[in-house]
């Protein structure tokens, strides 16, 4: 790209794209709510988080793997890269799981399709092992890049599951057609499986084939839930408040459309 492109004659009226104004307003409300719930004392306290069965089972699943002398397998799926919030949420959960596997002295296998995710995951797991006081138990070769090809990755993870017979499998991230291949292979080796994804199509497969499934926003709330970090949980509360704002807009739009069928202001 030539730098002269940056000094092209600008159109001053285009600095703010007015067609995106409603999104900007909603984004500002979201930022304000997250800042309020996270940094104000009133916002951080005085609420409880409901029990999420899939997350409560994490420690039991790792404990079971330790007792059976079998590894834990964690994979973030083929559909996401490091830019995706789901992948970041998945790596945040990996950090907590790695702390547990380190203290339980249970091997943690992490195959991935993306070398960038592999590099970040290696750092996350290494630091988690160091934080739990067992840095010497960390094995870099357990966090491995297998293939960027979808079914090459699926075959590699399937092979890892069949050969190593992990007792606990975490399928957390963005999955596509490989989701059911993993879930069924994991089931065939008798692993406890905890899954969660942002793909609604693959979610149906996980609900049918896995022991626990994190649905929708549960995946994004998981790191706060597992760490009991009030600041993170407070931002989860902001999610609920945003949901209330959306429900209010939906109800208003339904009433408005009933009274005036020609109205369409909500389509912006």
């Amino acid at each position: 790209m030539h730098w002269s492109y940056f000094i092209a004659v600008p159109d001053p009226t285009a600095w703010l794209d007015t067609s995106k104004l409603p999104v900007l307003v909603l984004a500002c409300i979201a930022v304000a709510l997250v800042l309020y719930t996270t940094y104000s004392r009133h916002g951080r306290d005085g609420f409880t988080v409901r029990k999420i069965a899939g997350l409560s089972a994490v420690e039991d699943a790792i404990g079971r793997a330790t007792e059976m002398a079998r590894p834990v397998l964690f994979t973030p799926g083929w559909g996401g890269d490091i830019q995706r919030p789901t992948t970041l949420a998945s790596l945040n959960i990996l950090s907590h799981i790695a702390e547990k596997t380190a203290s339980f002295d249970c091997p943690l296998l992490f195959p991935t399709h993306d070398p960038v995710i592999m590099s970040v995951a290696q750092e996350v797991v290494r630091e988690s092992y160091a934080r739990s006081g067992f840095a010497d138990r960390y094995r870099e070769s357990d966090i491995q890049y297998v293939s960027s090809s979808q079914f090459g990755y699926a075959a590699a993870v399937d092979g890892l599951i069949a050969r190593n017979k992990p007792a606990a499998i975490f399928l957390l991230g963005t999955f596509e057609a490989e989701s059911l291949i993993f879930a069924e292979t994991g089931n065939s080796v008798g692993a406890i499986q905890i899954a969660g994804t942002d793909s609604t199509i693959q979610l149906a497969f996980f609900i049918v084939a896995c022991d626990y499934t994190l649905i929708g926003e549960e995946l994004f709330a998981a790191s706060g839930y597992l760490s009991s970090n009030r600041a993170i949980l407070a931002s989860v509360r902001a999610q609920d408040l945003l949901k209330l704002v959306l429900v209010a807009i939906l109800v208003l739009a339904v009433i408005w459309a009933t009274i005036d069928p020609t109205a369409d202001w909500w389509k912006v």
């Binding site: 919030p85 970041l88 993306d114 070398p115 996350v124 057609a177 970090n229 993170i232 931002s235």
Partner: protein, 208 residues
């Protein structure tokens, strides 16, 4: 301390700048957006794929040394070396060795793994669609109705089948799907904000 804080500072600065640029259609804003999202990403990925290939080689060579599934590992390494090597020597034309390997080995292998899905759908359905509770029974009935109506025989059995299944797909199923999607959208938004604002740092590996 600075090396640990640097990734967070970069995430905050680039996150905020790209967030603001999204709301601008100015050519400069779009150019910066494209430069960061496309060009920077390609540069990072280019280096990362080298790290990935090196890691793949290292893991497999160590496993061969230990005698851990030696032949599978050796085949993987041969594949990793053969594909780029044939492309470099003979090119990637229609009748090149690279395309022969791609068409006759890689594609059939991928198709084979994909075909496993048909069997896994059957086994997962068998386990999942058991009427153990009221929600499981509703799932079973809805799944059977959709399955029958989507097959050619459905309309011959009862001509109302397509109407009923269209209603199931367009109303209760779509409503649940949209509710989940709203939750995912809000979850993505707050996760991004937590990362940009530095509230959540577990992804950096440097505590919470």
């Amino acid at each position: 301390m600075i090396p640990r804080r640097l990734p967070q500072i970069l995430a905050t600065v680039f996150g905020l700048v790209l967030f603001l640029l999204y709301f601008s259609s100015h050519p400069t804003a779009r150019a910066i957006n494209q430069l960061v999202v496309d060009s920077y990403w390609q540069i990072i990925f280019g280096f990362a794929i080298l790290v990935g290939a090196f890691s793949f080689l290292k893991v497999n060579l160590q496993a061969i040394d230990r005698g851990d599934h030696r032949w599978y590992r050796l085949l993987s390494i041969i594949g990793l070396i053969a594909m780029p090597l044939t492309a470099i020597i003979w090119g990637r034309g229609g009748d090149s060795p690279f395309m022969w390997l791609f068409d006759n080995i890689q594609i059939p292998l991928q198709s084979t793994v994909f075909a496993l899905l048909a069997f896994f759908v059957a086994s997962a359905s068998y386990r999942g669609f058991r009427a153990r509770s009221l929600p499981a029974t509703i799932l079973l009935v809805a799944a059977l109705a959709v399955l029958i109506s989507r097959s050619t025989i459905g309309e011959y059995i009862w001509n109302q089948f397509p109407i009923i299944t269209d209603w199931i797909r367009n109303y209760p199923s779509m409503a649940a799907r949209r509710a989940i999607l709203i939750g995912i959208g809000l979850g993505s938004l707050t996760t991004s904000l937590r990362v940009i604002l530095g509230i959540e740092r577990a992804w950096l590996g440097s505590g919470r």
